[in-house]
């Protein structure tokens, strides 16, 4: 439903997006992750047709955004980072305007308005001017306008920013329900959100697509983020040397814990081979008193930070 083929965007001599390619299929929710200024919004804007790609091809529902953006716009719902609202209009008038432009037939407009207002829990503010609404309601009005006209593709730039936990939950349910039959590209900073509702994650930084895979696939692939945590009573330096001597241990950091003499909290960066916990346990057994040993699974946060950190380091080098 969404396809980017070698898409680049340049402003003058500055390249903002470098040769980005990925697809979002029907019935799929893809999370779009990246730090501020990574190129998420520019990419979203190119898919939405607000700006055009300098090179490459963007297609939405089979329509080329460079030449058929009006046809594509009928299949698309887009919520920019800051919801595009007319403050002086009331919610109902605003949504009616968007429905008309999207070509919803006159006799179906009221029904479509009821549907999206119910999905986004806006019934109680239907006649209220938008400037009087709280940030959470404004966000939901932005989502409601995107759902009008039953689009096949939904682009959401930070859709849950500014919502309270209850509203976040409701919004996620709306997105999840929509994503069952449609294509959703969701840009967010909230990593648990990606794990909860996205089938795949695309990581972008400095305008380059660094990875795209399922959240679990990214975690599996990220062997560098595997670590083993120990709590042990031992002198710091001999302990560090012993652990660094274990096959598979890449780095060791030792921090003394308060309260008891020589009680240390140890973080070992390890590779992904099986049996590393047993080798570590054997290396300290008999010498020191081991209280706790736990293999830490890589989190999406670590995976994200690793990819983003690698790019930053690469640039610095």
């Amino acid at each position: 439903m969404i396809a980017l083929e070698s898409v680049s965007k340049r402003y003058g001599s500055r390249t903002i997006i470098h040769d980005v390619s990925f697809t979002v299929g029907k019935g799929e929710i893809v999370g779009f992750l990246g730090p501020n200024g990574a190129g998420k919004t520019t990419t979203m804007r190119m898919i939405a047709g607000f700006t055009t790609a300098t090179s490459g091809r963007v297609t939405v529902a089979g329509f080329d955004m460079a030449t058929q953006n009006e046809d594509a716009a009928r299949k698309l719902g887009y919520v920019p980072e800051q919801p595009p609202l007319y403050d002086v209009l009331d919610v109902s008038t605003y949504l009616r305007f968007v429905a008309k432009v999207k070509g919803v037939p006159s006799r179906g407009i009221s029904r479509d308005l009821d549907r999206v207002m119910s999905a986004c829990r806006l019934e109680s503010v239907a006649r209220r001017e938008i400037y009087k609404l709280s940030k959470g309601y404004r966000q939901r009005v932005g989502l409601a306008q995107a759902l009008l006209g039953r689009p096949e593709v939904l682009l959401l730039d930070e859709p849950t920013a500014g919502l309270d936990p209850g509203q976040i939950q409701e919004t996620r349910e709306v997105i999840r329900a929509f994503g069952e039959k449609h294509a959703v590209l969701l840009s967010t900073h909230i990593l648990p959100e990606v794990t909860l509702i996205c089938q795949r994650v695309a990581i972008i930084n400095q305008g380059r697509l660094l990875a795209i895979d399922s959240p679990s696939g990214l975690q599996r692939a990220s062997e560098q983020t595997n670590s083993v945590h120990l709590e042990i009573t031992a002198p710091a330096e001999p302990l560090r040397e012993a652990l660094l001597g274990v096959d598979g241990v890449r780095a060791v950091s030792v921090h003394p814990l308060p309260g008891r003499d020589l009680l240390q909290s140890v973080e070992c960066q390890v590779d992904s081979r099986e049996g590393i916990e047993a080798r570590i346990a054997r290396s300290v057994a008999g010498q020191w008193e081991l209280h706790r040993l736990q293999r830490q699974q890589p989190t999406l946060e670590n995976v994200f930070l690793r990819y983003v950190g690698d790019t930053v380091r690469g640039k610095a080098a």
């Binding site: 804007r45 595009p84 008309k100 070509g103």
Partner: protein, 235 residues
């Protein structure tokens, strides 16, 4: 056409849900009422000539207030992102907004007709001159709106949009005065042709010249085309 109408309705709702429309219409009616009373009752001239002339200058100063928010407001309110990603072509956005602004102009113009009641009750005005004066006034207003709307599309700051529009419109109004300083025939002709005031003068005198009508329509068309092209270029 549905897109144009949807934008047009949205524009009208926006005008009348904000104080701008009421402010502009009030100032305009107070101004024209004063000029009418002054010209008819204090100087005793039983025609609308002077009043139309004053209305023209008043219009030039109020048009930027109407047009400054047309696109600048969309940029600063981040709603341009909505308009450009909805199934709308730039020309539909431009024409929808232009029709909305023209409707405002027609409402303002229509409201001044109240001045005609005492004129017809106590005088013997020439209806044809009044009609051509109103036609000229509306055409002048449409050209000014198109110019103001174009400048509004160039910046997200409404004040800057207005500050660019005012001198440009005043320049078009007063450019005819440069004829006095020119001996070159071509330049004299050019300054005369570009003058909003000189063409408007024809209408006020009761002349419905095709050259003047075409002039205002061409100025409007050029400004609207630039407006559409700029939006396409921005994308």
């Amino acid at each position: 056409m549905n897109g144009v109408l949807a934008i047009y309705h949205k524009e009208l709702q926006t005008y009348f849900r904000s104080p701008i429309a009421y402010f502009v219409v009030s100032v305009f009616l107070l101004g024209t009422g004063y000029f009418f009373l002054y010209n008819i009752f204090l100087t005793g001239i039983g025609t609308m000539d002077e009043t139309f002339q004053n209305m023209g200058i008043l219009l030039l100063t109020l048009i930027p207030v109407i047009t400054m928010r047309l696109f600048s407001g969309e940029y600063s309110g981040r709603t341009m992102e909505l308009l450009m990603t909805l199934p709308l072509k730039p020309w539909q956005i431009v024409f929808g907004k232009y029709l909305g602004a023209t409707t405002m102009l027609l409402l303002m113009t229509g409201a001044t007709a109240i001045n005609l009641i005492p004129l017809y009750l106590y005088g013997n005005p020439e209806t044809k001159t009044i009609l051509t004066g109103y036609i000229g006034f509306v055409l002048l207003g449409m050209a000014c709106l198109a110019v103001g709307q174009f400048f509004s599309s160039l910046t997200q700051n409404q004040i800057i949009a207005a500050l660019i529009t005012v001198p440009v419109l005043l320049g078009f109004w007063f450019v005819g005065h440069l004829q006095t300083f020119q001996t070159d025939y071509i330049l004299r002709g050019l300054f005369g042709y570009l003058s909003f005031a000189l063409h408007f003068g024809d209408f006020i005198r009761g002349l419905l010249r095709s050259e003047a009508v075409v002039f205002y329509l061409v100025v409007s068309a050029i400004a609207l085309t630039l407006n559409i092209s700029y939006l396409q270029w921005r994308r």
